[in-house]
């Protein structure tokens, strides 16, 4: 029975001391004899004003015990360097985070990639360069518009356009303020074009298409959500020191009227394209045009090239021999590893931030509901009161209820702030996407180089064989000679392609060495 003492109590200090428990007889409140008689005298004097149960409790020493005067909360805040009374909703906004202030939108493009330790790391401050130049983009005024051209459904096919307003002092734009109307599809186009032109850079990812959400959500909410996302995206583009000067962005922001449609967006036509090319590729004209080398093999269109590159990557992984050009930059590999780790932790932190926000929200809600329940009780007791003690109790409850409702409001406020700040995690996660994109650009460029080199090797050896075979036959074998000619031509083209590919790879590599892909 003796060990039982501990058994029953997990953490002794969490519970009231045993002594207190023994002294708990109901007609005497825990800490105070006074309150009891106060209460009695209050009853007898029929007063139901200021609640008698306000004993000075010794519990929190530093308290100037504001609980003595329930309504006035002004004695609460200990003045400190940073805050004003944190109970006033308006000033809460100024209270914290001043060191980190600054438009988070501008900071994300990470002139300093977060993991680089040589920077003045930790600073989310603005980029030091281009201090006087600015581009400010606003997205607003969503409007429904009708698809004018051939729609199968008459009167159907509406879409939303957004007004995109730009203010800038960059001379290349030729004007200081201008607007255009764009739809989401145009953003997709812009994003694709940028991905092509700026391979190897940290290109910010565009907002998701959110097909499911667009069906399920309320129209207004969805449009608003999209508007916000678009604005964020365009601002990030504008902050990117290289992309902000790009033609694609300029055209997007300035040129009135509809943007040219992207080339074959849908899978079907791409597949058709690819299928059409395939015979050509299989029956001899197997070279990939050099200018296309610069792009990664696109699904559907470059089937053969995809096959070859896939084979090459398998050979890299499983084959015994080392591929001709290898990713030897250890620093790059290390950085890639670090980025991966960072991305994981960011993702984790982002998730936890979300749960935290939810927990705070729940707390605020429940507190509010509690307050409401007590308000109802108060009303009830007051209506049905047959004794004065009931009125006293009702007054107590009202006090509690009011406080609870107020607290609930504060929680809501707190959460709004929390969301705003913790959202940074999400934004950084978005940045990780562009980093990953750049890394994979580099890998795919390398793979292309490797593939071409292997191909050249096999072409050369075929040529050799043909030569030695036809040299044995005097006068030459017409068909073989012809084949040889073709082969040599192919080799030349492939050689060119290889050079282009190597140049591209080196370019991307160069980007990474030098300011991490900016």
């Amino acid at each position: 029975m003796m060990g039982s003492e501990n058994q029953g109590f997990e953490e002794a200090h969490l519970y009231a001391s045993k002594e207190e428990m023994e002294n708990l007889v109901l007609d005497e409140p825990l800490n105070d004899n006074k309150s009891h008689s106060n209460y009695r005298s209050a009853l007898s004097s029929l007063a139901d004003t200021h609640h008698p149960l306000s004993p000075p409790v010794a519990a929190t020493p530093a308290d100037s015990d504001p609980l003595l005067a329930p309504p006035s909360y002004s004695d609460f805040g200990n003045p400190s360097i940073h805050d004003n009374s944190y109970l006033d909703p308006p000033s809460y906004a100024d209270v914290t985070f001043s060191p980190f202030d600054g438009d988070t939108g501008n900071d994300i493009n990470g002139i300093e990639s977060p993991s680089k330790s040589s920077d003045n790391s930790g600073s989310l401050s603005r980029s030091p360069s281009s201090s006087s130049e600015y581009i400010k983009i606003t997205v607003s005024n969503p409007q429904k518009e009708q698809e004018t051209s051939n729609s199968l459904v008459p009167g159907g096919n509406t879409y939303v356009t957004y007004l995109i307003t730009t203010r800038t002092n960059i001379p290349e734009f030729g004007a200081s303020e201008f607007s255009v109307r764009r739809r989401f599809r145009d953003i997709v186009t812009l994003s694709d074009r940028l991905a092509e032109s700026y391979r190897g850079y940290f290109v910010p990812p565009r907002p998701d298409k959110n097909v499911v959400e667009s069906q399920v959500m309320q129209k207004q909410e969805f449009v608003e959500q999209r508007r916000v996302a678009l604005e964020k995206y365009l601002r990030r583009l504008a902050d990117h020191p290289v992309i902000r000067k790009s033609d694609e962005l300029k055209v997007f922001l300035q040129v009135q009227g509809k943007l040219p449609l992207p080339t074959s967006t849908d899978v079907a036509s791409r597949m058709l394209d690819g299928a059409a090319k395939l015979p050509k590729q299989l029956f001899g004209e197997s070279a990939v045009a050099p200018h296309e080398i610069v792009q990664p093999a696109k699904g559907g269109r470059d089937l053969l090239r995809l096959f070859k590159e896939l084979r090459q990557s398998m050979a890299n992984d499983w084959g015994g021999s080392k591929p001709p050009v290898v990713e030897e930059d250890k620093e790059f590999l290390e950085r890639k590893e670090k980025m991966h780790e960072l991305e994981q932790q960011l993702s984790n932190a982002s998730q936890q931030a979300e749960s935290l926000v939810k927990a705070q929200q729940d707390m605020g809600e429940t507190m509010g509901e509690l307050g409401l329940a007590f308000i109802k009780l108060t009303k009830f007791e007051n209506e049905e009161a047959m004794f004065n003690s009931q009125r006293v109790r009702a007054a107590d409850m009202k006090g509690l209820a009011t406080a609870a409702v107020k607290a609930s409001r504060f929680y809501r406020e707190l959460n709004a702030q929390t969301v705003k700040h913790l959202d940074t995690f999400h934004e950084y996660l978005g940045l990780m996407l562009s980093v990953n994109g750049a890394f994979s650009d580099r890998s795919s460029a390398l793979l292309t180089v490797q593939t071409l080199i292997s191909e050249l090797d096999s072409l050369h050896s075929r040529a050799e064989k043909l030569e030695s075979a036809s040299s044995k036959i005097f006068g030459g074998d017409k068909s073989r000679i012809h084949k040889l000619e073709e082969l040599k031509e192919t080799i030349r083209v492939t050689e060119d392609a290889k050079n282009v590919a190597i140049r591209e790879y080196e370019r991307i590599k160069g980007l990474m060495l030098d300011d991490d892909g900016i």
């Binding site: 029975m1 003492e5 058994q7 029953g8 997990e10 519970y15 009231a16 045993k18 428990m21 023994e22 002294n23 708990l24 007889v25 109901l26 007609d27 825990l30 309150s35 009891h36 008689s37 209460y39 009695r40 609640h51 149960l53 519990a59 308290d63 504001p66 609980l67 329930p70 360097i81 940073h82 805050d83 980190f100 977060p114 993991s115 330790s117 790391s121 930790g122 670090k338 960072l342 984790n348 932190a349 936890q352 931030a353 749960s355 935290l356 927990a359 707390m363 429940t366 509901e369 509690l370 329940a373 109802k376 049905e384 047959m386 009931q390 006293v392 109790r393 107590d396 006090g399 509690l400």
Partner: protein
Amino acid sequence: MEPQQRSVSGSSQSPRSPSSQPFLSVSVTDPVKLGNGVQAYISYRVITKTNFPEYQGPEKIVIRRYSDFVWLRDRLFEKYKGIFIPPLPEKSAVEKFRFSAEFIEMRRQALDIFVNRIASHQELQQSEDLRTFLQADEEMMERLRSHETGIFKKKPADLMQIFKDVQSRVSDVVLGKEKPVEESNPEYEKLKNYVFELENHLAEAQKHAYRLVKRHRELGQSLSDFGKAAKLLGACEGNALGKAFSELGAKSETLSIKLQKEAHQLLMSFEEPLKDYVRAVQSIKATIAERANAFRQQCELAETIKLKEINLDKLMLTRSDKVGEAEIEYKELKAASEEATNRFETIVRLMNEEIVRFQEQKTVDMGIAFHEFAKGQARLANGIADAWRSLLPKLEVCSS
């Protein structure tokens, strides 16, 4: 031996000067888990200190289990009709298996309050059953407990059944089947309505209070997870930024602990009193049912007597030899009727006193509970604000 503070007076009157006045103070302590598996139960040490003459001595310690408390409650309910017997914590067959420390502590606290309320009630404290409970040795207690269980045990369901019987009788009246057996006392009607509605309101408040406890726990957990994630993130970064993150994470974890503590506080000092209030109201409902019963008995006997009178007169007229028998019967009935009337009137009188006492008691109880709630929340908010505030200068260092 726990040093017993000089006492808390044994009745609900104003505080008296200690030593000369009669006192009875009890504490329920030391929960110990005994037995195994399905048979497992908790035993408590019940310590009594008193100067009442009827008691065996100034101090006595016995071991009791939950069913003993139930026995006491049932006996008191039987004997003291009209008085609101203090409520017991729920039986809770499910939680019993887990026997979490929190559950045990909550139960112990509730049992302690239960006994003390009895000990401080002017009438109840005189009860012989109470004396037995506080002093009898364990074997005797066991005998009593198992003997009485079958006969007197009234589960709340039974009480409700009784009440429903009363209500169904009322509907019978409406359908014209029986004479009315409900009191036609408008003030009493008002009281009954009040009690029923009060229970609903209180139950809702208690539900939200319980949820609030849960929210505190969830928020605590979130802060802890978030803190850990922030620390891991800090490990990825280097130098000042990494440090900033790990400071943030550490603070978050500290706050998580505060929140868990507050959750527990909230449970014990706010939610539990609300639950107790609900139970008390349910006890009142049981008394209301008893009063209805007593009233009905009184009415039935009055009816029967009238019939017997008529019968007796008839017999006397016909000079039947059954007259003697009938007269005896009539006298017995008359006595029973008087008794029933007395019982009913006692209940009415007691209830009137009890209601006043109940309301006053509840006001005090809830006042304390609200006070504790406010204090706890204020303390928590201060703690949270302090923690974050103290983080700021550290973060500033990192960012400069």
